[in-house]
């Protein structure tokens, strides 16, 4: 299938709704971004963050209050949905209940000038691709949820749209099927190299399938980046908290770290170029942590307070009770110990009183800790990330 992929550009896209009590609701607030041809970008955020509204403005179901939408070089802001050449997979599938599976899939081709054989060969190829060959004459109601999902996908793919839109397509499936379908969606999208926007509130789904993730909150873009960027270098406390699990270690900024000494140079080399290292004091211990370029400036405003983002797997246990290693960055009392097979999860109350979640992989080796034990913790400095501790908005 020839790639029809186009870029999508959103320019200062804003949508203001009038709520039921006549109050203004800003569903999308100055959203500006560019999606490259063939890329799959996820809009991720809690419910009400504006991700679906933004998607619907791309499809043409909502008129933006201001701002513009481009598909390729074409300004589509004022085009009705049927002239935009996008195809959407809906959360509810939105299959036409009075048509067969075959009629559903063929529906979009009614509005495209194609020879009959072309239409049929396209339908056949797509039905093959989604594994529904032989189901053409069934009614949608006779299919399982997963099969209905495939019909919805096939119906969108068959028109070879310039942009494929997904509105929480997997939220009505059970957990196992969800994982299977998301792999399939990703496989098909990459094999056709189609530009796609995927809306979800499930961060693991977003991590699994995206080229890039747009994290949204209260109508604004909090961060846009690859899955690993948003996970390991979150740009705000919100992003750090929303993606994965996280511990925040409060600390104070000492200053930029010198990278000429051996250990810091090694750390800088591990992180790669373009990253700034800072000296940060956490409960009296000095840590060298990578952070935003403007951290020093941002932190200065609030008196040098910073938060060190530490993922549960970025700390290891170094000795317990009497045998705590002198290398330990912190120590605390175990208040929770849970066995998950692949890993142990501990809840630890640190000396300063804050609680810390730690994940210890490979629990088979050695004795697990028990509730009441005192544990020593060592942070993997290369995995930490520093944020300015601005008051929550």
């Amino acid at each position: 299938m020839a790639s029809n992929a186009k870029s999508v550009t959103l320019n200062n896209l804003t949508k203001v709704f009038i709520g039921p009590e006549k109050q203004q609701v800003v569903a999308a607030d100055n959203v500006t971004l560019t999606i490259n041809p063939g890329e799959l970008v996820t809009f991720l955020g809690p419910s009400g963050c504006g991700k679906t509204t933004t998607l619907r403005m791309v499809a043409g179901f909502e008129n933006p209050t201001s701002g513009r939408v481009f598909i390729g070089d074409r300004d589509v802001t004022s085009l009705p949905p049927n002239n935009r050449d996008t195809a959407m997979v809906f959360q509810s599938y939105a299959l036409f209940p009075h048509m067969t599976v075959g009629e559903n899939v063929a529906y979009g081709l009614r509005f495209r000038n194609l020879a009959k054989q072309d239409k049929q060969s396209r339908i056949k190829r797509i039905m093959d691709l989604v594994g529904l060959t032989g189901f053409e004459s069934r009614q949608p109601g006779q299919l399982s949820g997963g099969q209905q999902q495939r019909v919805a996908l096939a119906r969108a793919l068959v028109v070879e749209p310039q942009v494929l839109l997904f509105d929480e397509p997997l939220s009505n499936l059970d957990a196992k099927l969800r994982e299977q379908m998301r792999e399939e969606i990703r496989r098909i999208q990459t094999s056709l190299s189609i530009t796609a926007i995927y809306v979800t509130h499930d961060q693991s789904e977003a991590m699994a399938i995206s080229d890039r993730i747009v994290v949204m909150n209260q109508g604004r873009i909090e961060q846009m980046g690859t899955p690993s960027e948003v996970y390991s270098q979150p740009s705000s406390k919100f992003v750090a908290d929303f993606i994965g699990r996280v511990n925040f270690l409060p600390g104070s900024l000492v200053g930029r770290a010198k990278v000429d000494d051996g250990r810091n140079a090694e750390l800088a080399a591990r992180l790669g170029p373009g990253r700034t290292l800072y000296d940060i004091d956490v409960d009296g211990r000095r840590l060298v942590v990578e952070g935003q370029d403007d951290l020093a400036a941002a932190a200065a405003v609030v008196g040098g307070r910073v938060l060190v983002v530490c993922r549960p797997e970025a700390a290891t246990i170094c000795g317990a009770n009497e045998q705590i290693s002198p290398d330990a960055h912190a120590s605390g009392t175990v208040i929770r110990a849970m066995y998950f097979g692949s890993h142990m999860e501990y809840g630890i109350t640190l000396g300063g009183g804050s609680s810390f979640t730690l994940i210890d992989f490979n629990p088979a080796k050695g004795e697990p800790l028990r509730v009441g034990d005192t544990a020593g913790l060592r942070f993997d400095e290369a995995s930490l990330h520093a944020l300015a501790d601005t008051p929550a908005q």
Binding site: F61, T65, P80, P81, Y93, L95, F96, P97, Q139, N172
Partner: protein
């Protein structure tokens, strides 16, 4: 001099402006809206305005003389209070009976529920004054019971209590349908939960079931009240000396040719009807606690004691048997020479009825059948606009199109006479005026059906069609209409029946050329040709039954609602 600052545009006006812009981009929508607004203005608002205007300006200049006269005459004010009293009593009795039916079927497990439900719905499609005929045949001067059993010939059947009887039998289905929906929607878990917490069944009823039904009871009361106020056929035949507004307005307008007084009486009728309707629609129905969860809930244990169950059963069966008896005597009345006097079986009533009525039957069916598809089409478009589109004045459009519910037929009939009696809209005496009257009176039923079924359809289904390249018109024709077809056809069959059985507005509009079956039946009843009236009623019943049978074939098999998840 102060210079007025330009006021900042509020977001509300900005929103309206955005709506207007969106309208301008969609010329089909704009043209449709304009056409609908024009039609509603001419055929709903204007006639009512004409009635109001004539009542306050009898000679073309403002004057309250008409009202002053009405309120100074006891015999006229009495018809006002009589109407209200009749409405209040019938609303109460109908709501009680309707609640017992709904409760019996949903909570007390009465036996033969299918039959009982049929009996509760049968009166809706019954011809008007059918029950009046029955009452006269049973309790009248030659009544089967009064004379036949008790040998009394001086029993006065005419008056308030006969009216209450026929109205209750005829209108309790309204209450039943409202309350059936309410009781079905109360989640069984709530009542089971209260039992589980230690409440007795009686406490469950008084603390859970009844409070949750209260808005429904109020709705049902108000709806029956409006229907009873607007009722013309029953009081016309059975009221005797108990004057009511609808009849008095008719007599003043057509009998006395006092058009201003007839109009003023109609307006006096409109006032309480509209008030009750507005209270129901904008106050009571918003107080409903009932939410549809989409989860079916089932009671596995009976929620009532044996005594209550027996009571429900007895009330249901008495009502059902009364309905059957009333039907039977009318059928019987059509086949005997002279009811109560000469019981010789005969078909002469049918022959006579056919001789005088065949033209009316043809024109009635023609007008009703012609109006029904127009009604359905208009109703569907309005329902679609109201549910799916955004445009300024949407609330008002919805309100005006639903007015047909609230405005009594008497007001509509007088309004049509006053509004359409000169060019370019010289329609009086034509069949067209009756058809238009049907269309705009029955439209609310179609709109309700359309709105209800559209709300069941996930808007994403229409969006999917648009998204795949279909225009809004194509989507409406190929996706929306097929999906609402079953509900639409059901609504249409009901509106056809209502057109076939209409009296109160039609009575003003019929002419020798375009007569209506009900007007003819009324005339036969008034001259006490009860056999002929019974035969005409049977013709009407047969036509209605055939219409339902045809509709059932047309609706066909229903589609399974796939891809329609609850939102």
């Amino acid at each position: 001099m102060a210079i007025e600052q330009p006021r900042p545009r509020t977001s509300r006006t900005r929103d309206t402006i955005a709506d207007v812009k969106a309208l301008a981009r969609d010329p089909i929508l704009l043209a449709t809206l304009a056409a609908i607004v024009l039609l509603l203005s001419v055929f709903v608002v204007w006639p009512v305005w004409k009635v109001f205007w004539l009542s306050i300006a009898p000679r073309g200049v403002l004057s309250l003389d008409t009202y002053r006269y009405i309120f100074s005459q006891k015999w006229l004010t009495r018809s006002f209070t009589n109407s209200l009293r009749l409405g209040a009593i019938s609303a109460t009795t109908s709501t009680v009976v309707g609640f017992i039916f709904a409760f019996g079927l949903n909570r007390a497990n009465v036996r033969h529920p299918g039959f009982i439900r049929q009996m509760a719905l049968l009166p809706i499609i019954s011809p008007p004054f059918m029950f009046c005929l029955s009452v006269i045949l049973l309790f009248g001067r030659n009544g089967l019971i009064t004379r036949g059993i008790f040998g009394r010939t001086n029993f006065n059947v005419y008056g308030l209590w006969s009216l209450v009887l026929v109205q209750t039998l005829g209108m309790f289905p309204i209450a039943y349908m409202v309350l059936d929906g309410v009781l079905k929607a109360i989640n069984a878990d709530l009542e089971d939960g209260a039992l589980n917490l230690g409440a007795s069944r009686w406490s469950v009823f008084t603390t859970i079931t009844l409070p949750l039904s209260t808005p429904g009871l109020a709705s049902s009361w108000l709806l029956v009240f409006v229907t009873s106020l607007a009722d013309f056929a029953n009081p016309m035949v059975l009221a005797g000396k108990y004057d009511v507004l609808s009849v008095q307005a008719y007599l003043q307008f057509t009998g006395m040719y006092n058009m201003p007084r007839g109009s003023a009486l109609a307006i006096l009728l409109l006032f309480p009807a509209l008030t009750a309707f507005l209270v129901e629609r904008y106050w009571v129905s918003r107080r409903s606690y009932v939410t549809v969860t989409g989860k079916p809930s089932m009671h596995t244990i009976p929620m009532v004691s044996r005594g209550v169950a027996v009571f429900c059963e007895v009330v249901c069966w008495i009502t059902a048997l009364a309905t059957i008896m009333f039907y039977s005597v009318v059928i019987g009345g059509a086949f005997v020479k002279l009811w109560g006097v000469n019981w010789t079986p005969t078909l002469e009533h049918f022959k006579y009825a056919w001789d005088v009525g065949s033209n009316s039957i043809k024109s009635t069916v023609l007008m009703a059948a012609g109006a029904t598809p127009i009604t359905g089409f208009l109703a569907m478009i309005i329902a679609f606009l109201v549910v799916r589109k955004r445009f300024p004045g949407k609330g008002l459009l919805g309100f005006v199109s639903m007015l047909g519910y609230a405005v009594p037929g008497t007001v509509v009939g007088i309004g049509y006479i006053l509004a359409f009696n000169r060019p370019p809209l010289l329609l009086t005496g034509t069949g067209l005026i009756i058809m238009l009257c049907f269309v705009f009176r029955e439209m609310p039923v179609g709109i309700e059906a359309g709105v209800a079924s559209l709300q069941q359809i996930d808007p994403a289904i229409e969006e999917a069609s648009r998204n795949l390249g279909a225009s809004s018109g194509y989507t409406f024709g190929h996706i929306t209409l097929p999906l609402v077809r079953p509900a639409l056809l059901a609504g249409l069959s009901y509106s056809f029946v209502r057109s076939m059985t209409a009296v109160s507005a039609v009575i003003f509009l019929v002419s020798a050329r375009w007569n209506h079956l009900t007007a003819l039946t009324l005339a036969q009843t008034e001259i006490m040709r009860l056999g002929a009236a019974s035969a005409l009623s049977i013709f009407l019943i047969i036509i209605v039954m055939v219409a339902f049978a045809i509709m059932r074939v047309l609706v066909g098999k229903e589609h399974r609602p796939a891809g329609m998840l609850p939102r």
